[in-house]
């Protein structure tokens, strides 16, 4: 455990990168995923097709492959960015598809009567969505979105193979430096991940409670 204590700054910085990856791609995926969901339920056929094509392609592609495409592929297209940025792009591209599906299921869970009422008072499509459907959908969407974000926190670890110094690659490097500390490093990293999972879980719970309404 001495080695772990000596290296606590490095380990904490690793988890800092993990949190950075999760938070930034989480926010971006939320925006992009919601946009995709709106495209998929909207009345404009080409956008609907594009939305479902995106989701089908991304959901059936391994995240590691998305990472390969971003980190090694984009530079070939003369897009030069930091490795962390590539990782955030890959995680955003991947997570957006799942956010989209979660939000879409939320939109589908809004009662038809609500939408019919909104239409009966003459709201146009964009107001039906922004004033009536989405506020209710986001409430229904918190539990599945919580699982998506839980998966996102875990998915950040794929960056281990793509030159990002997040928690798992710090673990790998330190275990390489001092093999005798492997198991204490394993335990420390596991506890760190479980703490992050607990934060996401608690956050989803609190959000769920605070937005719950009495029907």
């Amino acid at each position: 455990m001495d080695f772990v204590w000596e290296q606590r700054d490095v380990i904490l910085r690793g988890f800092g990168t993990t949190v950075l990856l999760a938070v930034s791609s989480g926010l971006l995926a939320f925006i992009f995923g919601t946009l995709l969901a709106v495209m998929r339920v909207g009345p404009v056929p080409p956008l609907r097709w594009a939305g479902s094509a995106y989701v089908t392609v991304v959901r059936n592609t391994p995240l590691t492959l998305v990472f390969v495409f971003c980190t090694f592929g984009l530079p070939r297209m003369e897009v030069r960015l930091a490795f962390v940025t590539f990782a955030i792009i890959a995680l955003t591209v991947y997570t957006s598809a799942f956010v989209c599906e979660a939000v879409r299921s939320g939109i589908n869970s809004v009662e038809a009567g609500e939408i019919e009422a909104a239409r009966a008072v003459g709201l146009p499509f964009h107001q039906i969505l922004s004033l009536v459907v989405l506020p209710q959908a986001f409430r229904a969407v918190i539990p599945p979105l919580g699982s998506v974000y839980n998966a996102l926190v875990k998915n950040t670890s794929v960056a281990v193979a793509f030159s990002v110094a997040e928690a798992s690659s710090i673990f790998r490097r330190l275990a390489n430096d001092d093999a005798s500390a492997t198991w204490s490093l394993l335990l420390t990293t596991a506890v760190g991940y479980m703490a992050l999972a607990a934060v996401v879980f608690a956050g989803a719970r609190i959000l769920e409670r605070s937005t719950a309404i009495v029907r």
Binding site: P46, S157, A190
Partner: protein
């Protein structure tokens, strides 16, 4: 989706949606055109980047990679099914210690990233004198993670079996083990079959993490090609197409099973399945 969001359009709405289609379509075409232009400007459509895929050598590498992927995913699936059944039965056990241990195991392996589990098998287990190569590391990681996810699926499935079935079996004098084995599990598996196949898609995708420990699965074979030829993007596209084709076939099978077995006896399949199933695993 039978949508209530908008009516069967009248003439004005049709006009508006036509305009929307044209504008949206143009934006999409512009985006796609920009990407394609970028790809061709940087020479991604060059002959020598695509020609190797016609050759027998590269095809053999890809095929061998695909077989390695299927081998790891297949073995992990079988082991995960066993582990999942064990953990599910453990979580439903009437003995409190068994229940506590199974719950702890399930929660632990669901909370940890799969990458971390694979690294644990790859780096941690050899420290204990257990020799693990890339293949066993991938299989162990996939088994631990998917076993605990499957345990939750099974548990939900077992709990979804109508209470009367269990009561009837008990009243016939069957023991608890016999009720689980003869009454609950067969019905649970039937209800859970579509979800199981969707989980197989997740498992197959996850096997690409073998990339990290240099297990020569499909993606790693792709790497072998693009480090030689220098065609990262064409290779990524080809490999992605293979993954997508297999996964779409599996998804089609899942929805067929859903139609075939689902919806019977008033129990909704998947109704009690934890929401992350089929969502967001790496």
């Amino acid at each position: 989706m039978a949508t209530a969001l908008y009516d069967v359009p009248g003439p004005r709405a049709r006009n508006r949606s036509l305009i929307g289609s044209i504008v949206g379509g143009l934006v999409l075409v512009a985006v796609v055109a920009f990407v394609i232009k970028r790809l061709s400007d940087t020479g991604q459509f060059r002959r020598e980047f695509w020609e190797p895929f016609g050759g027998a050598g590269v095809q053999r590498i890809l095929l061998r990679g695909l077989l390695a992927t299927l081998r790891a995913a297949g073995l992990a699936l079988v082991l995960a099914l066993l582990l999942g059944t064990l953990l599910a039965v453990g979580r439903l056990s009437s003995r409190a210690p068994v229940r506590a241990v199974s719950t702890a195991v399930v929660e632990l392996f669901r909370a940890l990233p799969l990458v971390f589990l694979i690294l644990f098998a790859f780096i941690g287990l050899p420290e204990l004198g257990i020799d693990t190569g890339p293949f066993s590391s991938v299989v162990i990681g996939l088994t631990l993670y998917n076993g605990s996810v499957l345990a939750e699926i099974f548990r939900a499935g077992i709990l979804a079996v109508p209470r009367g079935q269990v009561e009837a079996a008990f009243s016939l004098g069957l023991s608890k083990a016999a009720v689980t084995r003869l009454i609950q599990l067969p019905q649970a598996v039937r209800v859970m079959l579509p979800v199981l196949v969707s989980q197989l898609v997740v498992l197959l995708k996850d096997s690409a993490l073998g990339f990290i420990v240099a297990y020569p699965e499909l993606l790693r074979s792709g790497r072998r090609i693009y480090t030689n030829v220098g065609n990262v993007i064409p290779t990524a596209i080809v490999v992605a197409a293979i993954y997508i084709a297999i996964n779409l076939a599996l998804s089609t099978l899942a929805s067929y099973l859903e139609r075939r077995f689902g919806g019977g006896r008033g129990s909704r399949p998947g109704a009690d399945v934890p929401p992350e199933i089929g969502l967001g695993a790496p």
